[in-house]
Homo-oligomer: 244 residues x 2
Amino acid sequence: MTSKEKPIPVLEIFGPTVQGEGLVIGQKTMFVRTAGCDYSCSWCDSSFTWDGSAKNEIKQLSAQMIWDELKILGGNTFEHVTISGGNPALLKNIGYLVNLLHDQGIRVGLETQGSRWQEWMADIDDLTISPKPPSSGMITDWEKLDEVMENLKNSSNEICIKVVVFDEDDLQYAVQAHKRYPHIRLVLQVGNSDVTTLDREGLAFALLEKYEWLINQVMASSDLRQVKVLPQLHTLLWGNKRGV
Amino acid sequence: MTSKEKPIPVLEIFGPTVQGEGLVIGQKTMFVRTAGCDYSCSWCDSSFTWDGSAKNEIKQLSAQMIWDELKILGGNTFEHVTISGGNPALLKNIGYLVNLLHDQGIRVGLETQGSRWQEWMADIDDLTISPKPPSSGMITDWEKLDEVMENLKNSSNEICIKVVVFDEDDLQYAVQAHKRYPHIRLVLQVGNSDVTTLDREGLAFALLEKYEWLINQVMASSDLRQVKVLPQLHTLLWGNKRGV
Ligand code: SF4
Ligand code: SF4
């Protein structure tokens, strides 16, 4: 760690596994999950990153220490790392990690709700911006999101907007987001409304049923034409298990 | 139909629905399924396109007639059409359809095993080349596939190689394909070994189990680093039902 490099608060490093969501769905990747979020979505499936319940598990790590841990876990089997949270865009120092990963020939993915901008976001290869619909209980700051999108305008990232949809209101919100950013690829994802159940099979079928509902809604819509509709693969596979 | 325009043998036109496979997984799209194939894969899930069982359903349609049918079915709800088969690359006249769709502002996807080249393939927006592994019973003509790939070198298509994997041999075949075309994105897809069962739930669970097997194999492999591993979404949702 150089003197000016502040550590990154990390809650989980795991993989390789498949990315279960978004445009990069199915991608073989390692995950680095940072601590802390400026939101508190009602259905957050990573609330341990911000509700204090896992605060004793947070490690303060330098970019190099994160890389060392990734290599211990993944050896030579990976070329993609996803930075997730919480909201990693709260952390200025992720920039050191992104540079280090790029130096090692690794593609980097990021998941954030788009409530903050960091310079290093322009260097992310696979960028998923997931503004939160009404069912989350959060209010989107559209001007802030405009600013993030404007900053990304000239980047060569693969960018998508991902909206998790639980109900009709969420779907209307997705339409609104799509109209505001018509040139950004849109991914709609069916929401998991039971983030604690251990009944894996029951959960998988509930999700497939809701997925079919979402597909039916979107297929009938002339507002949503250029769009992908996806389930969460990891939830279909592993239910609510952490670290897979 | 202009005098030089020969009709296209079409077996199904349906949608809008979600693309269940490949890099375009989840994409809202219409499907045009052509008749005829130069292969006869042991596990073909569209064997009615070539085994004679649906030969009375084949319609000889011009590009314009196909477009009219797409509009009747999909109205203003779609901007993406997937041409599937059978092997549409047997048909020179698909070129008329691709041009007409582009004129209408539609993105065009194609699925083919890569055994034939047609000029119009360079114009396809989302191109899935799916060479068939040993379990199919087919033998890949690698020189022919090299030629197809060479012809696509300067196109701005989104191209991927998709290999359906049933067993270890198939996985080795995928590694071989990946080494031969290292710069083309690779998608591995778990195979559906029961293309007739009507037990939708049983099939979904069998597929999720095989998907987990495939994930485990690929995650441990240092030959397969930059790769996506996916299930067939439509089979998880609708089992072996046709036309969804
Ligand atoms: S933005 Fe993401 S991590 Fe933060 S509370 Fe919402 S779902 Fe959870
Ligand atoms: S190439 Fe495709 S359509 Fe032709 S036999 Fe094989 S699986 Fe069926």
